[in-house]
Symmetry: C2
Subunit: 369 residues, 2 copies
């Protein structure tokens, strides 16, 4: 029978590890004491099994559980349930990795464009991509569109809505998106450079579907969505059923989860359909470690059963000064996102954005990734 393997980090006394692992295998499958499992089919085909124990010297151990793929119903919500539903209520347990059988992998979209498709769509090859953000929220559609034009004129590849932009009275979604996309087109007619605009979709599932349609009608080249915020099952469904453009995933609310960031941001967001994944780079406002960032980028890009790779997008307080370091760290297949610091001096936005674009173009000569 087909099983997925879920890996948990567990803090306990060494003598308790085996018992805790066995309890976890029951909790994440049949959710009854072992003695209550009397049916041969349930025991063989449904009940979770402890596949491996890797005791750690520091009281933190790893447990691999083999969980029956059939228990997930091949659905995103139910897969999360089997991976970490009740176990999430145990403070000493963290979900760190999952290996899926091909049949379960195939139930999810994965990146439909991936790094290669995104590059083709945007016409950017051989260097990192650049990304800037429209903010602060509270500006009118016209003011956001003017900023969008400024950044597009500077040669930025991707201009995304700040993830705080939603469907608010001061800048309703449909008007904002139409205005920003029109700005992109105006600059393209003027300069020949058509930047890709990524509106932020956020809301309950039916509002997301409406926003996806409005973004498509406006001609937006890609979209921004925060999977943890809208809910991972809603994200998966949106990608699979409502979107025909690449998807940039935002980490909002994802940090709340006691799920290892490389698994959540790198692997699960990719599995559910993110083509590019924004995450907080080390030394920015959010202080993820360099090792965590490297692991996220690796999970996003690593070969995985023929699934397209997702583009890592380090962000969270980046500046022009850090561009060389970012390019050295992540290589060519990355997108650099600089938000607020490009906007610090209102008169200098265009100039700073142009320096950003030029810097990245220049860095590309040196990288080999």
């Amino acid at each position: 029978m087909t099983r997925l393997v879920a890996t948990y980090r567990v803090a306990c006394a060494p003598g308790e590890l085996r018992g805790l692992a066995e309890a976890l295998a029951l909790e994440q499958s049949v959710e009854v004491p072992r003695a209550v499992v009397r049916d041969a089919f349930v025991e063989r085909e449904v009940m979770g099994q402890v596949a491996a124990l890797r005791p750690g010297a520091d009281g933190v151990h790893e447990v691999d559980l083999a969980l029956a793929a059939a228990t997930t119903g091949h659905d995103a919500a139910q897969m999360l349930n089997m991976l970490f539903g009740n176990a999430s209520l145990l403070p000493q347990v963290e979900l760190v990795d999952v290996v899926l059988p091909a049949s379960l992998r195939a139930a999810f979209a994965g990146p439909r464009f991936g790094i290669a498709g995104l590059r083709d769509r945007l016409g950017v090859h051989g260097r990192p991509l650049t990304c800037a953000a429209l903010k602060p929220q509270g500006l009118s559609p016209e003011r956001l569109a003017a900023l969008c034009a400024q950044l597009a004129r500077a040669g930025i590849d991707v201009i995304k809505d700040d993830h705080g932009l939603a469907d608010q009275t001061y800048a309703p979604f449909a008007q904002r998106v139409a205005a920003c996309q029109a700005a992109i087109e105006r600059v393209a007619a003027e300069t020949g450079h058509r930047a890709a605009y990524a509106p932020s979709l956020v809301g309950s599932p039916r509002r997301l579907a409406v926003q996806a349609r409005q973004a498509r009608d406006a001609g937006a080249a890609l979209v921004l969505v925060a999977p943890a915020l809208v809910g991972m099952p809603a994200f998966a469904e949106l990608v699979a059923q409502d979107l025909d453009v690449p998807v940039l995933a935002h980490p909002a609310y994802a940090g709340a989860a006691r799920v290892a960031p490389p698994l959540l941001l790198g692997k699960l967001f990719r599995l559910l359909g993110a083509d590019a994944v924004i995450f907080p780079h080390a030394g920015g406002r959010f202080a993820y470690s360099a090792a965590t960032c490297a692991a996220i980028a690796h999970a996003a890009r690593a070969p995985w059963d023929g699934m397209a790779a997702a583009l890592p997008v380090p962000a969270g307080g980046m500046t022009l000064e850090r561009v060389p370091e970012l390019v050295r760290t992540y290589g060519r297949d990355t997108m650099l996102l600089i938000g607020g610091s490009l906007l610090a001096d209102p008169a200098g936005v265009g100039e700073r954005a142009a320096r950003f674009a030029a810097l990245v173009a220049g860095c590309a000569e040196e990288v080999h990734s």
Copy 2:
């Protein structure tokens, strides 16, 4: 202008508190450095404000932020975004409470039945309600229905699917729900006691809507949903648009969030429409403290702008032996959920379930809640 007040617990040196609070107010609203906010409207109507600082002796402090209600777009996903989107990525910050202005409160369903409506529907007054679970997953619809009949015959009030039951090949949703509801009806015809069956709805948003329809067609008296698992915005939409029966909320995946359990399980689940809220009682398999449990129950039942109260449902490894303690702790307006321990001896399920029902009926004489 209208603001909501969000409270965060923040771990930092006392000298850093003011600066961190101010950074948090920007992060959770405009997401740019203060100097970049030059527009008078944005500054006055959109930018977050530090409303209070309560330094703690132990290096853990409380910060109240006043966030503009307009930034939420009166949507569940965007409200989460403004409450804890980027702040969730800061490991030293926990979201502990929120006070909503009436206009924002009114954007969400709240419990549509609440404790009073649930009691009326189930015809149970003056004592705690009893609840048992159908498990383990892996059993066929016929075997689950037989167990359902056994528990109904014993006089249990609410019989819920285990939250691990989804739409799986070994017990497809529609067949399972029809079989279990038919068992309820058979027992009602036999004995006059019609237990309420709560099928577990789990899946991506469109699958949830289909399951809601199938549950209604079968005649299920209420439903079980895990808001954190399906995504809180999807949960809110499901309740508001697809369900006309009471909703029992399950805590699966909710423990993953660095959001205080009384806020998440008690307040937010209630706000979004849960009529009853399952949570792990102290001393069970999940070890929430007695204080946390009391705070969850309080948040679920406390007066709140005329919103209906939600029924607290302590669970997670409860046994018959703990019934008196549970009734003493939670009083009359509660539902006691005993899962696996009722099923320990296959021959004795009916007898143990009947003792559960009788015990709770007996306890009721003593409580005054």
